[in-house]
């Protein structure tokens, strides 16, 4: 699995919530027949990962999510469920 170019999430501060996953693929069966796989491209922090093997699931590395909210809008099947992380958790920006 290669990291798309230009994504520098290693530089972001994250306060990950180990107790609750805020972005999930609620209907993973829809991913099997999904040709677009928009989530893989749209996500600016490579949260969605897939090994190109048809029956394998799309993994959701929610701890590195920057909370932009685009995946929910981009998924043609409406399979992504997104809520903001619990108060105080998640990405923390410092530089504007």
């Amino acid at each position: 699995m290669t990291k798309p170019p230009g994504i520098n999430i290693a530089l972001c501060e994250f306060r990950p919530d180990d107790a609750w996953q805020h972005v999930v693929i609620a209907a993973p069966e829809k991913c099997r027949s999904c040709r677009e796989k928009n989530c893989l491209r749209v996500c600016p922090s490579a949260v969605f990962q897939w090994d190109n093997i048809p029956d394998h699931p799309v993994l959701v590395r929610y701890r590195q999510c920057v909370e932009c909210g685009a995946c929910r809008l981009a998924c043609p099947a409406g399979a992504v469920e997104f809520a903001y992380p619990r108060g105080g958790y998640g990405v923390v920006y410092h530089h504007g």
């Binding site: 798309p4 170019p5 230009g6 994504i7 520098n8 999430i9 530089l11 972001c12 306060r15 609750w20 677009e36 928009n38 491209r41 749209v42 996500c43 600016p44 922090s45 920057v66 909370e67 932009c68 909210g69 685009a70 809008l73 981009a74 043609p76 997104f82 809520a83 903001y84 992380p85 619990r86 108060g87 105080g88 998640g90 990405v91 923390v92 920006y93 410092h94 530089h95 504007g96």
Partner: protein, 457 residues
């Protein structure tokens, strides 16, 4: 009377830290107004409501105001000066913008235009670049000083409706409590999940929301001033058109901070889906461009990030007024081009006015609160957005415009600048033929006509 009511409410002091919050079993707390989101819209609304004597609770999910926001940014100083006189004396802004440039880019060249003037360096300034952390902190502190209670690390999970009227909000864990209010101002930003989940606005569309990536690159202040040709303390904003957005309509920019620069680029969410590339690719295109790379050379990237901007324009504005609830700022799609901070602040100001009028008459119906929409309609917020309404539609209908004409402009400039062993008349004909081979004359004229119609309104 409003003044008496204000006195009876005032002594109640509210716990500020999440740890000392009330137990969920206790009777829910009640406020005059709850504001969701301590961004420009929310903090401005909270400030003016608190100043006018309302009992205000300002809820922010981040650990500090601005923690969840990135990208840009510059503010139009004069519009904020009207709300908070001489605000630039109260927080550390980055640079006073005295140079505004537009670069139409090809893969390897640039046609540039711009305006630079020391006159822009005098107060009230034209634009100031700001870091969100500093700007949001200042504004939230104003709201607190005026009497609003700010609670950080508090995420609102939903609005509470009673027979169609909003009566409060429910907090997500760990607080998990209900808090009641006569009025809720939703200022939860571009990806306003709360309004959508409550059924108050239609589902957000990937056509109307653009996704931006940003990178902050550290450079010494003197290096920035030398490379961008700036006197000390002054700043530049460069709008990048064409190549950076990979053939899609979108925008890209460079904002100079004191000791760093922010590069930003974005296009509509559905364009990424169609284009087969991601937001990071757009930043890579900018950083690699031969005109831009030298500006950033030797810089150390401090931070990466991404966020959405509602760019649907005037026609994408959802209903903003509901019984007991007002929607302000990005949550209400109040963005003109990529400018949103000033519109957010003014919408917060107008929401506060409508809330105050509702409170004094004890009428929180949509009809009473529609003063908010009236004030927006009469102000620059909706007047400017209405004026640009057709531009947003044009971008949607002719998504190739920016890129194609940037390429043609660069081609024409390149050919004109280059010396050819031919007479001048022949050269003109040659350049014309070359450029029109990119797009037939008929189509150029048709596009020009469409753009003209939009510009002339």
């Amino acid at each position: 009377m409003i003044s008496d009511w204000f006195k009876t409410k005032k002594p109640r002091k509210l716990p500020r830290s999440p740890a000392s919050g009330p137990a969920p079993a206790a009777a829910p707390e009640k406020f005059d107004a709850i504001v969701v989101g301590a961004g420009p819209a929310g903090s401005t609304a909270a400030y003016f409501m608190a100043r006018d004597g309302l009992d205000v609770l300002l809820l922010e999910r981040g650990p500090f105001p601005g923690a969840k926001n990135c990208g840009g940014a510059a503010v139009i100083a004069e519009q904020i000066h009207d709300l908070f006189p001489n605000f630039w004396e109260e927080f550390p802004y980055e640079r006073i913008v005295t140079s505004l440039e537009y670069w139409w880019l090809n893969e390897d060249s640039a046609v540039t235009a711009g305006f630079t003037s020391g006159r822009l360096a005098a107060a009230p300034y034209n634009r100031l670049t700001v870091k969100r952390k500093n700007f949001y902190a200042w504004l939230a502190a104003k709201a607190v000083a005026a009497g609003a209670a700010l609670r950080l690390g508090h995420r609102v999970a939903s609005v509470i409706l009673d027979d169609g009227r909003t009566v409060g909000v429910r907090l997500a864990p760990p607080q998990s409590a209900a808090v009641l209010a006569d009025i809720v101002v939703l200022a939860d930003g571009a990806n306003s999940l709360l309004a959508e989940q409550a059924g108050l606005i239609p589902r957000l569309s990937p056509l109307n929301l653009s996704l931006y990536a940003k990178e902050t690159i550290a450079l010494a202040p003197e290096t920035i001033e030398e490379r961008f040709n700036l006197p000390p303390g002054q700043g530049a904003i460069i709008s990048l058109i064409g190549h950076p957005t990979a053939g899609y309509n979108g925008t890209a920019s460079i904002h100079t901070f004191r000791d760093s620069v922010n590069i930003n680029a974005g296009i509509a969410v559905n364009s990424f889906a169609a284009g087969g590339f991601g937001p990071g690719d757009l930043l890579a295109r900018i950083k690699k461009h031969p005109r831009i790379a030298p500006l950033l050379a030797g810089g150390v990237t401090l931070e990466y990030g991404a966020a959405m901007i509602p760019e649907g324009g005037y026609h994408a504005i959802p209903p903003l007024v509901h019984p007991g609830l007002l929607i302000a700022g990005d949550a209400g799609s109040l963005v003109n081009g990529t400018h949103g901070i000033n519109l957010a602040m003014w919408s917060g100001r107008f929401a506060a006015k409508a809330a105050y009028a509702a409170k004094t008459s004890r009428d929180f119906s949509a009809a009473k609160l529609s003063l908010y929409r009236t004030l927006l309609d009469e102000s620059f917020v909706l007047q400017n957005m209405r004026a640009n309404a057709k531009a947003a539609a044009l971008q949607r209908d002719a998504p190739y415009l920016f890129d194609l004409y940037s390429r043609m402009l660069n081609e024409a400039a390149y050919l004109s600048v280059r010396a050819y062993p031919m007479p001048i008349k022949a050269k003109r004909r040659f350049v014309w033929r070359k450029v029109t081979s990119l797009q037939p004359v008929g189509k150029i004229l048709a596009d020009a006509w469409r753009v003209l119609k939009v510009v002339k309104g």
